[in-house]
């Protein structure tokens, strides 16, 4: 297989409460590490993509970043699609490289919303995703919006709270194998069920934490001299059905269906070929809906599969091997990039204690808004 575009470098900061960080210092740190991983320096970068920050919101965040690190790239832009940003940026960077417009595109996302703002301010800022006139007046929050999906999905397909809890437990066990993860203390289904209700049926441990952290990836034209296995983007696809949950055409079918279908078609593979999956999991229900909507599991089966260990090493689909947003951590736009960084490490065989044996083909997926914006990626080791 000859790739037109390769992922030449990945980098990430620790995740959790990073007291001495700023939004931009985290960006710079992740970018430096990703470039070092690729054997490149800041001056090799000719394309930059950034996303957004709640702590230091700015209408030109990528210009702020380039100014901060002192680079003057030939291409520089922002992509804002919530949790789908990272995956969309990777697809966009690949298009820039494939078109010959850039040789090395640096994608960098991060935020310090755990220590850089109060928890109340972060929750309030996230509630802005709701429609100003037709959702926010009713006290909507991101967890409440996903809870509306959860309630209906559980009603239609018989999913139980214990099955959702099994997803949280699996993710925590994965995070325990990752030295950088935010939440590494083991939990049980009983712990999840005993945690306080945030927005029924979702409890605290059904929800991802708020974390500081950043991640970066370098997308390059092939031919870099490196001793690392080459990882390429084999396919990508998107699906966009709505932004606000009040306007979602369905509460059980979402854009992940189209996104994954397009990505699988482009890569010429099927869900059954995937060795490891890194799928957006802002809440337990998020992952469950995506797994069934994408077709990794039949409707109503992903919850039972999680409880039976099918989402971990040795199971049918090792999923979110770094611990996902639920336990590895969620640093704003960077949250979706952690999945992609993990996919690359799995394909390179660099995942240490959490390595999936023989991982050659990975599926990564981002979801922005309330299951609103979706981007699927198929990554392969060449």
């Amino acid at each position: 297989m000859r790739a037109r575009v390769v992922i030449s470098g990945v980098g990430d900061t620790p995740v959790g409460a990073l007291e001495d960080s700023s939004c931009m210092s985290l960006h710079a740190q992740a970018a430096r590490d990703a470039l070092a991983d690729a054997g490149l320096g800041f001056d090799d970068v000719d394309g930059v993509l950034c996303a957004y920050s709640l702590v230091e919101p700015h209408p030109m965040l990528s210009s702020v970043f380039c100014e901060y690190v002192g680079i003057e790239p030939g291409f520089n832009a922002v992509v804002q699609a919530g949790g789908a940003s990272a995956a969309i940026m990777l697809a966009q960077a690949a298009a820039l490289v494939a078109a010959g417009q850039c040789r090395h595109v640096l994608i960098v996302l991060g935020d310090n919303r755990l220590t850089g703002m109060t928890r109340d301010k972060a929750v309030a800022a996230l509630a802005q995703f709701g429609h100003a006139q037709f959702e926010q007046p009713y006290g909507i929050s991101i967890p409440a919006a996903y809870a509306l999906v959860a309630q209906r999905y559980m009603h239609d397909y018989g999913v139980t709270p214990e099955q959702l809890a099994a997803i949280a437990v699996t993710h925590r066990a994965h995070a325990a194998r990752h030295p950088n993860a935010h939440m590494r203390e083991p939990i049980t289904v009983a712990d999840v069920m005993a945690s306080r209700v945030i927005a029924s049926p979702l409890r605290l441990l059904d929800c991802c934490p708020i974390s500081d952290g950043a991640a970066a990836i370098v997308v390059s034209t092939p031919g870099i001299d490196t001793d690392k296995p080459t990882v390429a983007l084999l396919g990508s696809g998107q699906g966009h059905t709505h932004e606000h949950i009040v306007a979602a055409p369905s509460l059980t079918d979402f854009g992940c269906k189209q996104a994954s279908r397009l990505a699988f078609e482009q890569a010429g593979v099927t869900a059954a070929d995937i060795d490891v999956a890194e799928i957006y999991d802002s809440f337990t229900i998020t992952l469950l809906v995506e797994l069934e909507s994408i077709g990794f599991f039949e409707r109503g089966e992903a919850g039972a599969a999680a409880a039976a260990g099918e989402l971990t090493h040795g199971g049918r689909l090792p999923c979110n091997t770094h611990g996902g947003l639920l336990s590895y951590g969620h640093s704003g736009a960077a949250g979706g990039m952690f999945h992609i960084v993990e996919a690359v490490r799995q394909l390179r065989g660099e995942a240490g204690d959490r390595q999936v044996d023989g991982a050659e083909l990975a599926f990564a997926h981002g979801d922005g808004g309330v299951l609103s914006a979706h981007c699927s990626l198929i990554l392969g080791r060449l």
């Binding site: 409440a144 306080r196 209700v197």
Partner: protein, 132 residues
């Protein structure tokens, strides 16, 4: 002063919010293709026609999904927890978000019939749902 967000009407939505203040619920109807839509827009979401008419909707519907919120997003909602947010399917075929008011949150269920009532919020009436 409740401190809760007060909808700020724009050119698309002003007739809807003005009607709420008269105790009336308006839904947009496309004269070109017959599609009914919510929330109000400058064009038909289905056929993109701009030939839209306002129709008075029957003030009743059913709960399509709901959540009981225990963690308020802003201080303005803290006194209300636990409170119910529902997606309500109106008899006229559109879906709106509302709180279920005048109801024990424990009683809210999918499929529950509701009537639309109006909550006064600093000069703007906001549609809400209560058990039918």
């Amino acid at each position: 002063m409740t401190g809760k967000p007060i909808p700020e009407a724009n050119a698309d939505t002003r007739p809807f919010w003005d009607a709420c203040n008269r105790g009336e619920l308006l839904v947009q109807h496309c004269r070109a293709c017959g599609h009914r839509q919510f929330y109000p827009r400058g064009l038909c979401q289905r056929c993109r026609s701009e030939d839209l008419a306002w129709q008075t909707a029957e003030p009743r519907g059913r709960v399509y999904s709901f959540t009981i919120v225990h963690r308020a997003p802003t201080p303005a909602f803290r006194a209300d927890v636990p409170y119910a947010i529902a997606l309500v399917d109106l008899a006229d075929g559109v879906r709106m978000m509302m709180n279920i008011v005048n109801c024990d949150p424990e009683r809210v269920a999918i499929g529950m019939p509701v009537n639309i009532v109006f909550e006064q919020r600093d000069g703007q009436a906001v549609p809400q749902a209560e058990p039918a």
